[in-house]
Amino acid sequence: MAGSKLRRYVGQKVSVVRWRPPATHYGDTDTFLTGTWNDPENTVGVWRTPESDDDPVPISSLPHQGDVSDIQYVTRDSFMVGSSTGGVRLYRHSAEGDLEAVNCWDKVHAFTTGPAPCTSLACSGEQIASVGEDGKLVIINPNQKKPARVLEGVGGCSLYAVMFVRTHEVLTSSMQGHLKLWDLRASQTAKGLLFSPDQVAVCNLAGHPTQQHLVAAGGEDGTLALWDMRNTAHPFTIIAAHNGPVCQVQFHPVAPEHLFTCGMDGQLLHWDASASAKPSHLSYKGTQDLSGGSVTVWLGSEVSRGATDTTCILQSPLPINSLDVEGATLIAGSDNEAIYVLGQLLKKRIDDMVY
């Protein structure tokens, strides 16, 4: 699937890129955020991609204390930024296109000897979950000054990724390869899963947009595992994906047979399972369930045999830290101090979808 590929050097190592959510459910978005790391003056920047195939244009930026470890949007205009100093901040897009700080929670994560980096954020409605290297899961309400709940892990192992499975269930992954499902109503671990017997750290989690029980996890040895939360004895599939730790995993929000992973070996892979998708018998126009029938293709037998169409759509000499995909455009940020914008990714698929 040919598409346009743009690369723009920005002079700082980019650790996170995030699309701003589109104004309407099926609309397009042209604004994205970048967060940088390992620089004496880290920034959170706002960029816009112009209509033509030109380089993205910087609009504004805000200095940031410590490295930016994650950015997640809470609403269309406000977003949370996690920092390596252990704090979490809430910002908002102002009407002029600038950023303004709304609220901040400092020292959310701390070791006994000092601040601990916050590693990942997740949002669901009015709740924001934050995990850090001190092994704590902290639930924050954007309107309150203090964190709502602090759930301690045991053993002091760092937590690397967090995501909401349902509105009250949170899944966290740790450096030992344990995935823990927390039920926020019950204040104790609901279930614990094991990624693999070799204590492989799980670096990132992604949830399927429509099938809530399907979770994809990227590991430190470069493997990608697909879990079915209804059957948690062992992962459904483990695929050897990258030559280094997987930095980010993401399903395409509208076409979930497409999965994207990026890793520290500098590759960005596109996993296309649509070839083995069963045809949908509900094919009238206007349907929202576009993933093809009631059984998602990722849990089918073809995928476990490895029959996905994998393409490496980006190769960089240094790690690619983050990716985000919205509509037909994918953005990625790398340690090569570059932002990549790849357009018209799923041309065929998007054309098939009729609104």
Binding site: G11, E133, Q176, Q199, P317
Partner: protein
Amino acid sequence: MDPSNDTAQTWTIPDSMMNGRMCGKTFSLGSIMLFPQQEHTNYTDMASESGAQRTVKMYQLEPSSWLWGRQARKLINESVGTFLSLQTAITEAEPDRHNAVLVKKCREYRSIIQACQQDTKNLQQANENEKQNGKEPSTQEDLIILQDILYKMELILSLVELLFIDTMSDGHLLNQLVKWIQLHFPQHERKKGVVLESDRPHLHPDYWNTVYGSVLQGKLDDARLILSNHPSADTDPFLSIDELLRKMPFFQVYGGVSVGDFEARWQHWQSECERRLEEGHFASSHNLQAICKILCGDLETISKLMNLMDTWYHLMVSTLLFTKPTVKLFHLSNASQDAILRMQDQQVITALDHVLLAAMEADMYQVIKECQQVMDNPWFTTHLTDLLYHTVQHKGKHQVLPPLREYLLLDYAEMLAGHSSLWQVALLYLDHCGPRGMAMAQEALQRLPITSDSCAQKIIQMASEREFEGVVVSVCRVMGRRALSQGRLGAAIWWGMRSKDAAFTSHVAHQILHKYMSDGHFESSTLLDHLGPAMLLSDTLTFLGKYREFHVMYQEGRYEEAAALLVSLISSKLAPEYFWPVLLLDALPLLKAKEPVISSEQTYELMYILDTLTNTTRDKDQTKNEAAHVSFLDKEKEIRVALTHNLAQAIIHEGTVEN
């Protein structure tokens, strides 16, 4: 370093505390930490001095360069991409395709510099427009300096490209030299636009200068265009000059015309110009006469127009254009000397001129050497040397260029490695520097500050890609020690296991055991439950894993298995000595069970252990304060009773079974 060396630079630290007692220490790669050395004072004086206590500051000095500025930094990453693709393309291409590859890469470097120039110019103009916002003048100055540096680099690089790298034209350089001049001296282009747009071009003060300038740069069509705007453009002299301008022959390498033929044609054309001049075609206008004299190659006329050509190389090319169109590389050295002589009153020879002169002399080493003196950091020189190295590599004659290239690459990479953010780029360069590069890469990786887990993982990733096992072990140990000091034993074990570091893992396992003895519970039970094959990394870890297994079995009620495991743990001496009391205490409930779960053999083992323990503790008497040990001493009698009781029961039980 000779103290009387004039080129040494001095910086003064503006801090009175430093007077007379400044002390410094180098750390990382190239940074220096400065601090005032505290004198010895008696304690009695301290009280009186405390009132006048001032804050003591430490200063960190780092080498800085224009390359670290926001705009110039993009050059670094863009050029590393081109550098890497050049190395792979050269190794993969066949020998006769080398030149095409090199030209392409050279043009990529030039376009990188040009893009940076464009960005800087845009930024500078944007800053100019926003002057009211109180922009510091220093940033404007920096931008201007940067533009200057970029211009010089692009000038040198394009000249090197056409003289050394691009050999397609078989040595006939004039066309390319003319294009080079046209690219770098665009002022006539601008003026032409201005002149043509004005109401009556021929009355514009710059009119004739623009015509002369265009002719001197070889842009004859432009000159004709401007001349056609003259009201008397259809008079004889104008038509005549127009014809001459139109008919000037230009040499095309693949034009199908041989060199001799071209020379003949050119001579014919120039003699036509001379004839018309002598016959007085242009007597009416001295401007047109001047143009014709230029076309005839009259050095005097060309020299008179020196103010239109700012530099000697422009003068040189313009002269060559009208005197010697078939110039080759070896002519250039004479021509350049000539031009400098003619222009010597009007200019000062700068370092840039030295570089260009060296290029004209076709002396590659001199070019590199001069470049090193002009630029204050090795970015440009390194990439230039790399290009030249690949150009001459297949000829195999040069002895000096390979080690020079390696030296420059190492120098540049070292500078990058000292930067807090660009160390990854440094490693990419060090891959191509041979064994010294490997050694430096290992040293650099071990000295990087590790700020978070993901940073550590990136360092480990780069080290594993290059198979630096020692670095991986070392980084994991640092992270493990850090975790230990924060009390996160589970994380410490994980780092130990990650690098398969037996010594460190044993150490952490001992820590966990001590903690268990003092606290009574296991901190990272989930980790220990799922150790798997990694358990075999170290004996202590194995023991720890098995001990957890024992706990689990006990809690599940599988007493016989638990007992067997416990005894095997004790008898195999896997357990460290200080832990035996705990194990014996654990064995106590099993000994007191209704049914004998511990056989007589096992009981003998336990008794032996107990005896050894009591003997050693009587002798040593050290760990009195450990809770487990204290409770052990209390229960020693109880254990003895239980052991003997169990022994009796077991013998009876075993005896009965036999019968």
